[in-house]
């Protein structure tokens, strides 16, 4: 096993050398770590807030969160010369399991200045039904009759918790079903313009502002869109639009 691993590693490195021009300093490879954090318009949201904390969305409903999971994949770094480094792997972040907030993708890149891209969810190349045992084991699948693949986000809880008829909501985001045979990709490609210096111990915080899911550009009315949203094309497209402003780069530490 060890033997196989070091062999693969060598192949990997050799192939890197082949692809890149000789000017890159490959003696100084780094693998950045990501720290995923959540907030509600700037107020931290952590495991301790599950169920107990109430949030008010832009439309005015008071809600709690009992389950929050989301998928980030295809992390790409680009330097000023246009060299592209794709770090493979994906991360299913689960608010109830703090260990999932830290992620070291596979692969490495030379120290230097980069801009960052990632995919929220899976892009169409990666969103292959049943292809990831780890995600299958976590029951993260998206029904085949809705286009298959995987969930991108699950956010569940109760809304109108300040009234006598608290009602469940299931804000689940994945592939959008247009008709029984037509499905639309629904992921979001994030491309940040900030330059980040990547060195050996770089940790990049990715912030997820949950409040954005309910306000921008679509003001979300939970009384209208609370559950059975997975087969609802309009709801799925609004989720995609609202997610597009929900992620940002936070602290970068070296």
């Amino acid at each position: 096993m060890k033997r196989l691993l070091s062999f693969c590693l060598c192949l990997l490195l050799i192939s890197c050398f082949e692809d890149k021009d000789d000017n890159l300093d490959l003696s100084n490879l780094a693998t950045p770590t990501f720290r995923f954090t959540q907030n509600w318009d700037g107020t931290d949201v952590s495991i301790d807030d599950l169920i107990t904390t109430q949030f008010t969305n832009a439309h005015g409903e008071t809600l709690n969160i009992s389950n929050l999971k989301y998928l980030i994949s295809k992390i790409v770094f680009e330097n000023a010369d246009g060299d592209i480094f794709i770090l493979n792997g994906y991360q299913l972040v689960d608010l109830s399991d703090p260990s999932t907030s830290l992620f070291s993708p596979e692969g490495s890149l030379p120290e230097g200045l980069y801009t960052l891209k990632f995919v929220y969810g899976f892009n169409e190349m990666d969103n292959i039904d049943g292809a990831y045992p780890e995600l299958n084991s976590a029951s993260w699948n998206w029904p085949q009759m809705l286009g298959g693949g995987y969930h991108f986000l699950q956010m569940d809880g109760m809304f109108n918790v300040d009234t006598t008829i608290a009602t469940p909501y299931n804000y689940h985001h994945g592939t959008a079903k247009l008709s029984d045979t037509e499905f639309e990709q629904n992921f979001v490609n994030f491309e940040f313009t900030n330059s980040i210096f990547i060195s050996h111990n770089t940790e990049i915080e990715i912030q997820f502002n949950l409040a954005e899911l309910f306000k921008n550009p679509n003001l979300w009315d939970l009384n209208q869109y609370s559950s059975s949203l997975m087969p609802n094309y309009d709801a799925q497209k609004m989720m995609q639009q609202n997610a597009a402003t929900a992620f940002s780069i936070g602290q970068v530490t070296n």
Binding site: S6, F17, S139, S227
Partner: protein, 357 residues
């Protein structure tokens, strides 16, 4: 420069290889025969690896010993009850009672649980309320549970030591270490991990060697449809052939709780009324249903989800129609859902000679 690195790396490879191969000459003392878990193709394809503790590898001798212990009433106070008394092979290793009766005639407070695919319970929380971590730990509890075998491990170890066969069997499985609770539960754990069920009609349909009836197919659609059954968020899906998430939920059985389930274990009132999601495999053999065996038939279970939901502060938001009492399935959808659920049952699991004494 390129060549330099390549040579360097090549050197590493060769070094790595020669280093490793030297291990092949190390003599391993004769001992129990390693036994690899027979992972079904569908699990191999779809799921991550099963959990086998590093300190309890599967061995042929360990499994055989565990099987003998599982079926042996020697574990119970009055020699009247084995694990298999409440976990019977013909019922997918559960029993047909609402609550099981222990050796003292006491009724437990929970429905016995079927035993299969236990190595794929990745979080390793066992029992309806998850109070036991790890299969070996779980196996140590029934012996001393006053509502079950009502014995002590001291007595059991004594009996095993004075038995005509066990000392030899323990030695074959674990060498010269003295017979102990630790070794007995390790053997039980090894046997339990071999109880694998993955040969239902639906498994074979998924693998392309069987077909579903239109009714079963519609039942699957009901199961997967957020507008109808929406069962898959907790009970697995074709890509997760465990048919459970092995997590804890309040599926709206009660508005107040006589049994707090997970809440009594974590001490967090937000967990009251939560129980481990059971697998939907082998339902044909595991009635009655739920942690307290309240439903005698699958029709009752389906009616519960369709129109019997009870609200409570900890109800799972996935019970999204709790304010309306349920998802209100049509009679046709109910019948189809049931047909689909039954396609998850695996008759070959009941009479597998490896699992029967």
């Amino acid at each position: 420069m390129k060549t330099f690195y390549k040579l360097l790396l090549l050197g590493f490879i060769i070094l790595g290889c020669s280093n490793d191969s030297s291990e092949e000459y190390v003599d391993i003392p004769a001992g129990p025969t390693p036994s690899t878990l027979n992972i079904p193709q569908i699990f191999e394809n779809q799921l991550i690896d099963p959990i086998i503790p590093a300190d309890n590898p599967q061995t042929e001798e360990g499994i055989a010993l565990g099987k003998k212990l599982f079926f042996d009433p020697i574990l119970s106070l009055d020699f009247s009850q084995a694990c298999a008394s409440c976990h019977m092979p013909q019922n997918s290793f559960t029993d047909i009672n609402t609550f099981s009766t222990g050796v003292n005639g006491d009724l437990g407070i929970r429905n016995s649980m079927p035993l299969f695919n236990l190595a794929w319970n990745f979080d390793e929380h066992f029992f309806w309320d998850g109070r036991s971590f790890g299969l070996e730990h779980q196996a140590s509890l029934p012996v001393e549970d006053p509502t079950e075998m009502a014995n002590t491990w001291e007595t059991v170890v004594d009996r095993l030591n004075n038995h005509p066969e066990y000392p030899e069997l323990f030695q074959a499985a674990f060498g010269n270490a003295p017979i102990s609770r630790d070794l007995a539960t390790k053997a039980l754990g090894q046997f339990e991990r071999t109880l694998i069920s993955a040969n239902s009609k639906f498994d074979n349909y998924f693998l392309g060697t069987a077909s579903l009836t239109p009714q079963e197919q519609n039942g699957l659609a009901v199961f997967m449809d957020e507008d109808r059954g929406d069962c898959f968020h907790c009970h697995g899906n074709p890509n997760n052939p465990l048919w459970t998430d092995n997590a804890f939920h309040n599926n709206a059985l009660d508005s107040t709780f006589s049994d707090n389930g997970l809440g009594d274990i974590t001490g967090d009132p937000a967990d009251n009324g939560k129980f481990k999601t059971p697998s939907l495999r082998n339902l044909a053999y595991t009635a009655p249903y739920m942690h307290d065996g309240r439903f005698a038939t699958l029709d009752e279970v389906i009616n519960h989800y369709s129109e019997g939901l009870q609200n409570s502060p900890t109800v799972d938001p996935l019970m999204k129609t709790v304010n309306q009492g349920g998802v209100q399935l049509t009679e046709q959808d109910k019948a189809d859902l049931k047909a689909f659920l039954l396609s998850l049952s695996d008759p070959s699991f009941l009479n597998n000679p490896d699992f029967i004494p």
